[in-house]
Amino acid sequence: MRLHWAHALSRGLWGGWGPSQAARSVSRHSSRPAGDPASGAPAWRDPPRDAQDSDRGPAAFAAALETLERIPGRRVGRLELVAAALAAMPALGVAREREAYHRLLRLLPRGPWVPRGPIQRLLAPFPQQQECGLQILEQMERYGVVPDAETRFLLLGVFGPRSRPVRKCQRMLYWLPRLRHVDPHPLPSVLPPPGLAAARLGLRRIANDPDARITVYQRPVPDEGDNEGSVEPYIVGERRGTQGNPGAQSPEQQELLARHGTARPVFVEGPFSLWLRSTQLWYYVLRGDPLPPHLREDPPDPERSLYYPLHLDLDLERGPWDDDDFDVDEVEEGPVFALCMAGAGDRRTLGKWIAGLQEANPVLGRTPVVFRLQDGDPPAGATGDPPTPPLGVVPPPSAVLEPPDLPRGYGHSTQGGGNKGNTAPGE
């Protein structure tokens, strides 16, 4: 009821500068697209241009509001003004700037919206106004802008202590700094464009083992006319010294491969996708199957340790209440020997990778390597020629080499893509 007149004002019925007018002035500044309407990506996704650009940026926002700032004390349509400004901020590119929000908050009146007395506080005072404050804070939260002591001061002046916006501000001050550190493996804020650098980053994310070494196999750019200027297909391969479960104490990779034996094949599988925010990378895995249980661990050599026995010759097992080895979530996986990200996912490039690995692991030359590539998701730039089997490769699985059932949970590329998709924090 009491807001009828405000609604009337908003429609500019009483003349004067209605809020729609104010909003129009704001949107006038933002409605000039400048340059990239066609790509379909919403304007706010683009990084803000520098402040000299008169169409965007904090200067534009300030310009939009300055008329209003110059006429303080107008008790007309502030709520709609704030709503319109909030909607326009992304377009202007100031959505991640705290100063812009402060400017907006300074437009709100200080005092009139503060409830007086506990009884008024009891009766849910100024609901729409407090809702408006909450909208501002909500937008700040969505864009990851952490409020400041000044924000809190402004809110206190406008809404008074113990009001919903101030409470929300307190909560934001508690949680948002914490949530910034919630990602144990944060991506750098500026990602490299898809290419060699992104591949390195991706490999480091997949296996962050300090012992692993990343090598780049790349043919030098030839001088022919056709291929001039193009980036040759590269492979960024990583040699891992670890087994499937991270943090396990493990032998060197050569020992792993050597122990794997030449009788059983190793598989090159892929491509699996990895998302780095909005870049999709494809990687391939060289892995072997897990050993059947009876071949698994050779009995400990009694002559290994000079100083203390590594193995007690007792007939006692661990009590079941102390045995926390079994974990339902952990899946048995065979050893992963190497990873790579290829610029072009055809057999030739992958063959080059295998050949490169062979230098460090001569045993790989004698082990049959089976290529199990998923042709459903070829990465961009795959050449059209049919895959030529590189050296030492056995053709795709025949009955003899039929592998056992893949352990449950071992993702194919479609599942892997779904699993690996990043979810933005707080959404």
Partner: protein
């Protein structure tokens, strides 16, 4: 510390099969192998006849020891300039010659080969004096405690006759070559290789060894290398073999002496073998049996450490006693751990008391500190020895307790009830009686309190070991934090026993200042008692004091990043 050695001595004297100077004492012992004292402690049994009364040597032996001690002490106080040795990082040749003349290079070699043929007590007593200078002590130890020990314990008569005389006179110095850059205690990763020649007359040795004491001075090396051996299944395997290698065989080179923190006078360097021809007569033991030889040498060489640290502390404060031999390998390890850590604490304290003066090179305290630091590291690092002590004890106890534990686990009602009843009685406060205290107790009445504490600890230790074996079984090998506590407890128990035994004897026969000994024993036993109780409380399941899981978690997080992961306290978030 000394008392511990004394007990070791008794056990060793009894166990030693060789000729003992005093058959009178020997007749009291049977020659049948008895379970060792320390291993029995793991079952909660105290074999008091082995430790009470405290072992004594006869008057004649005492006189003989004192006869030896005199000239050696004189030599060390007059002609050994420790400061100069430390500064130059070299032992002067005159000093070496003096040591050779005194016969100190052949202390353990039997008289028929030209050595002194000292018993273990005398060796230990002299060891106390030689360790007044750390570098000389290490040189001598590397020569005889490990360098030529292989020939002594596992060599054939021809090898002994060929090498021991010259080693005893000091004409040749011996060194022990086991460690390589890639392998410390892991015998499986030894890379030095010995291949048999075509005519089968000699081996070709190739490889390099690192951190060899006396490497530059020695001319006779005990080298461990891999050889291919056909084992009984007919399979070709790589096993370790021990060789006696002379420098004259050719192909033996050594690097420059390492610059060390302490024991700077001792010569430590790399030794390289390039196609060295080793005749097959120089194999110690049998081909492929090097592992056993290495273990025996290391175990037997360990006891000399105790006397060395004792001697060193004696200089700073003034105290202690003697060690022993085979199958008391667990006791020897305990002695090594206890004495090295005790020595380190004492020397640190001494330096601290002196404050700034202690820190200056003008005074010898900093040299002692540096020399003492290596005690915790060589001859088996203390951590590894704790594993050894705990695991050997667990193996022994496990063998005996397996049946009982299996009965309990099977859920036999009668047995379970018995267990529950026993636990109830434990909680109510059971009275343990090992015969130490009381009317017929072997311990002197002044030490009743300490004796009672010891008995209590031993009983609870037995229960704890049983509990651990029930919980973990043979997977206890992986629970190193648990094993460390077990080792700490048993070392304390052994030390308490030794101290009580020695003080009891001392007050019973009226040695000078026996009341001081009794006082020290009571202090030590009370402290050890509380430490043991705390450790045993930590070993209970679901104990609040047990922080193992938290520590492991923190360690894992640090290891993942290989750095300190906390943010700086001055960082702000908003």
């Amino acid at each position: 510390m000394a008392a511990t050695r004394g007990l070791l001595l008794r056990a060793l004297r009894a166990a030693r099969p060789g000729p003992v100077a005093f058959p009178a004492v020997r007749r009291l012992r049977t020659a049948a192998p008895r379970p060792a004292f320390a291993k029995e402690l793991f079952l909660g049994t105290l074999r008091k006849e082995e430790v009470f009364p405290y072992p004594e040597i006869s008057n004649e032996e005492l006189a003989e020891i004192n006869q030896f001690v005199g000239p050696v002490e004189k030599f060390f106080s007059e002609e050994v300039d420790s400061k100069k040795i430390d500064q130059d990082a070299k032992i002067p040749p005159e000093t070496l010659k003096g040591l050779k003349d005194l016969g100190l290079f052949g202390m353990q070699i039997p008289e028929e080969y030209g050595g002194l043929g000292l018993s273990n007590t005398m060796y230990a007593r002299l060891g106390e004096i030689t360790s007044l200078d750390g570098s000389i002590a290490v040189t001598l130890a590397a020569h005889q405690a490990i360098g030529l020990k292989g020939i002594l314990i596992a060599g054939t008569d021809e090898q002994k006759a060929k090498y021991l005389p010259r080693l005893a006179s000091g004409e040749h110095i011996a060194a022990f070559c086991l460690t390589e850059p890639g392998s410390g205690s892991d015998a499986a990763s030894i890379q030095t290789r010995a291949t048999l020649s075509e005519d089968g007359k000699y081996f070709l040795l190739n490889g390099s060894k690192v951190w060899i004491s006396n490497g530059g001075l020695a001319s006779i090396f005990t080298v461990f290398a891999r050889t291919e051996v056909v084992d009984k299944d007919g399979q070709l395997k790589d096993k370790i073999t021990a060789f006696i290698v002379e420098r004259d065989f050719g192909g033996v080179t050594h690097g420059k002496p390492e610059d060390k923190l302490g024991i700077r006078g001792s010569n430590t360097c790399e030794v390289h073998f390039e196609n060295t021809k080793v005749p097959i007569e120089n194999v110690i033991g049998e081909v492929g049996g090097g592992f056993k030889v290495a273990m025996n040498i290391l175990n037997s060489g360990r006891f000399s450490m105790g006397s060395a640290s004792a001697g060193m502390i004696k200089k700073l404060i003034g105290m202690m006693d003697r060690p022993g031999f085979p199958d008391c390998s667990v006791e020897a390890a305990m002695v090594k751990v206890f004495s090295s850590e005790g020595a380190w604490t004492c020397v640190s304290e001494a330096l601290q008391i002196l404050g700034g003066l202690g820190y200056m090179k003008d005074y010898p305290y900093e040299r002692y500190l540096r020399d003492t630091r290596i005690l915790l590291i060589f001859e088996g690092t203390n951590e590894i020895l704790r594993m050894y002590i705990a695991l050997t004890g667990m193996q022994y106890a496990g063998k005996i307790l397996t049946d009982k534990i299996k009965e309990i686990k099977k859920g036999n009602v009668g047995v379970a009830l018995g267990e529950a009843l026993s636990k109830l009685r434990d909680m109510m406060g059971r009275k343990v009686d090992y015969g130490l205290v009381g009317d017929r107790g072997v311990v002197h009445p002044s030490l009743q309190e300490s004796g009672k504490k010891l008995e209590e600890n031993i009983y609870y230790f037995g229960t704890t070991v049983r509990g651990l074996l029930t919980r973990f079984g043979k997977t206890i090998v992986d629970e190193q934090l648990v094993l460390k506590r077990v080792a700490d407890i048993i070392i304390n128990l052994y030390a308490m026993t030794a101290a009580i035994s020695r003080a009891s004897r001392s007050i019973s026969i009226g040695l000078r200042n026996h009341d001081h000994e009794v006082l020290l024993t009571n202090i030590f036993c009370t402290e050890a008692y509380f430490k043991n109780n705390y450790a045993m409380a930590q070993l209970q399941k679901y104990a609040d004091e047990n922080l193992d899981d938290c520590i492991k978690k923190a360690a894992k997080q640090v290891l993942e990043k290989r750095a300190y992961i906390c943010s700086h306290p001055l960082d702000r978030t908003f």
